[in-house]
Amino acid sequence: MDGETGTKPGRFMDAKKGFLAAVVVAFIVYPFLVSNYYIDIAFFFGIYALLGLSLNIVLGEVGLFDLGHAGFYAIGAYTTAILNTKFGIPVLLLLPVSACAAALFAYIVCSPIIHLRGDYLLIVTIGMAEIIRLGLINNPFGLTGGPNGVYGIDFPAIGNLLVIDSSVEFYFFIWIVVVLSILGLIRLQHSRIGRAWNYIREDELAAGASGIDVRGYKLLAFVLGAALAGVAGNIYVAKLMVVSPESFTFWESCLMFCIVLIGGMGSIPGVIIGAGFISLFPEIFRPFAMYRMLIFGGVMIAMMIFRPGGAWPRKRGTAGLVSRSVITEDIHD
């Protein structure tokens, strides 16, 4: 039964459409009701949503363990920052450039290691991200500004016509990008590529035996995931006007990982919810001061105990979460 785009007619569909409409209306109306501080929080929610979606391609759809996604995010961010401050190239133009830079980096760097299994791939992705981050801190060729980073990045603009420089404008900018990404990703999910990805996730050996170019599809996933993360980097930097290596630590990669897992692997609405949880939860619980991160950690554990499939699990496929016999589990690492 295909549950995504609704082949089921009747009242259930109307309720779902209604719900979706309500959500959209809420998103549009929100920034006009609250102060700048809260619009900014919603902006960062959007960034994390985009990052979650980008990791979802690699981790959710294909099932590749990637704990170094912050590295691609960093490449996108710094590409924008450096090219804008050193050469004055407009930020908006740099959006596709950053995406390509991150994608190219992913292609070059992942090619030799794409065949690694499970945990070994995991440690290599962690290593890659750390190498990127440390490289940024050490300021090779004086480009990256070291631990202080790069500052003075312009606002995204098209001449004088469309200048995005207020909280509200950034909010709409990121969420429009997120919506476009979601549409693109849904199309991918339903395409040959998406199906091949899921097949690889479920049973790599069988997929290969069926004639799927496993290596090619895995690499494609990384490249697309990196590109989307690069886009997020560009928008993040434009908003903050400054970029520093602190934003791209191993911890950030872990947060992205949690977004995908808590939301539901391979599930787009799940990822949005996961992003909401990760970015909004600490804010909502700010009044609890010291204890809010304690609660955050506790909730994460609870989520996995009670809803290991995620807040909104992907309906098609088991996504590797059903208990399997130990023998296949060990080997399918």
Partner: protein, 384 residues
């Protein structure tokens, strides 16, 4: 359906919570304080907060400003990092009732933060930011009540080689704006002595802040046999460096820059290792001779038990005082008016750290430097 109800409830809560929070309208003048309340410099941040609150209280006890309005300090934590610094600045800029801000400690945090204040045209006065580059950007709204690294570097070059009879000097920094900046001006201040052959810079390199293990770097340093070792970074690393250096047999004199030695340094390194360490520094709170200083320190001590152990919190208090003074004098809370007045009309206004005046670029005029040393009991005193 149950899941959808749950989600809807979640979204409603998320939606309503921020809407429900109202902005307090009040009869106060709000001055922002951005500082590292958490993070690697929490110690400094905490003192700065206490300083500003003491200063505000003194103003309010005397009747407030603008005809009886009370001064309120709004503290925003920037955690000592450039990114969170930018976020903190954005937050203060977004709050309409904040007139001006005292911001911040740490030149590398101040760079992006002051960038944001400038873009949104809000007065911001730095209190623990000594990198020369900060006032070379042509900004109109940025000032600082503390001194600059070039004065400090010059002081080092004039004073240290003579005092310690030093020929071989090692300079170590931490690659931050401040640390690297200070190292660079020190090096250029030493140029004339280097060319004349009186002094040789035998070591010039950086450590990575946040690292704990410096044994390898220090062994390298030891092999260059310096007479004096100048570390221009912050106190957390300074303490670790000194303990590990003494362990591996580095005997030379250790001189810290003005962020390297405070009570926290003495606590971590232990009095045995900390004593005999020198520091180039602005006058410490206890050594300030001015009346306003005595008044402020008495109030601070009454509230918190002891006076601040570093000069930066005092500069923060002075920043707050001067903002309040200018608001009162101009009768306005408009940033452009305040900035103009600060730049042109503030000359010799009595402050806790002496007469306050700003140059055309926003620098503080006339900040002296002294050589301090940690004595036998762990106290930091002016060295003879």
């Amino acid at each position: 359906m149950k899941r959808n109800t749950l989600l809807t409830a979640f979204m409603i809560i998320v939606f309503l919570v921020p809407c429900g929070i109202s902005v307090a309208a009040s009869d106060t003048v709000v001055i922002g304080l951005q500082g590292p309340i958490t993070g690697p410099w929490a110690y400094e941040g905490e003192m700065a907060k206490q300083s500003c609150e003491t200063a505000a209280k003194l103003i309010n006890d005397k009747g407030g400003i603008l005809g009886g309005k009370m001064v309120e300090v709004r503290v925003v934590d920037d955690a000592g990092e450039p990114r969170t610094g930018a976020l903190a600045a954005t937050k203060l800029v977004g709050q309409k009732d904040v007139v001006a801000s005292v911001s911040t400690y740490g030149s590398s945090i101040c760079e992006p933060a002051s960038n944001i204040y400038e873009k949104y045209k809000k007065v911001n006065i730095g209190y623990g930011v000594t990198a020369v580059s900060l006032t070379q950007r042509g900004f109109k709204y940025f000032f600082r009540t503390c001194g600059r690294d070039d004065s400090q570097g010059k002081f080092f070059a004039d004073y240290v080689p003579k005092k310690f009879n030093a020929k071989r000097i090692a300079i170590m920094h931490d690659n931050t704006s401040f640390g690297k900046g200070l190292a660079e001006v020190t090096q250029s201040s030493l140029e004339p002595q280097v060319t004349s052959g009186a002094v040789e810079i035998v070591y010039y390199d950086a450590i990575t802040p946040g690292e704990k293990d410096f044994h390898v770097t220090l062994t390298k340093l030891r092999e260059t046999k310096p007479d004096v070792w100048y570390f221009t970074g912050y106190y957390a690393e300074a303490a670790l460096l000194v303990t590990q250096a003494r362990e591996i047999g580095i005997e030379c004199v250790f001189v810290g820059g003005n962020a390297a030695i405070n009570d926290e340094f003495v606590k971590i390194a232990g009095v045995d290792l900390a004593k005999g360490c020198y520091m180039t520094n602005e006058p410490l709170p206890g050594d300030l001779p001015y009346d306003k200083a005595k008044e402020f320190l008495a109030a601070y001590k009454a509230a918190y038990g002891e006076i601040p152990s570093s000069p930066w919190p005092i500069y923060a208090a002075d920043a707050l005082n001067i903002i309040a003074y200018v608001i009162d004098k101009t009768g306005s809370t408009d940033s452009t008016v305040l900035a103009e007045y600060l730049r042109n009309d503030v000359n010799g206004v009595p402050g806790i750290t002496g007469p306050i005046g700003f140059t055309e670029q926003g620098d503080r005029e006339g900040v002296p430097f002294f050589m301090y040393v940690v004595d036998e009991t762990g106290k930091i005193v002016i060295s003879k």
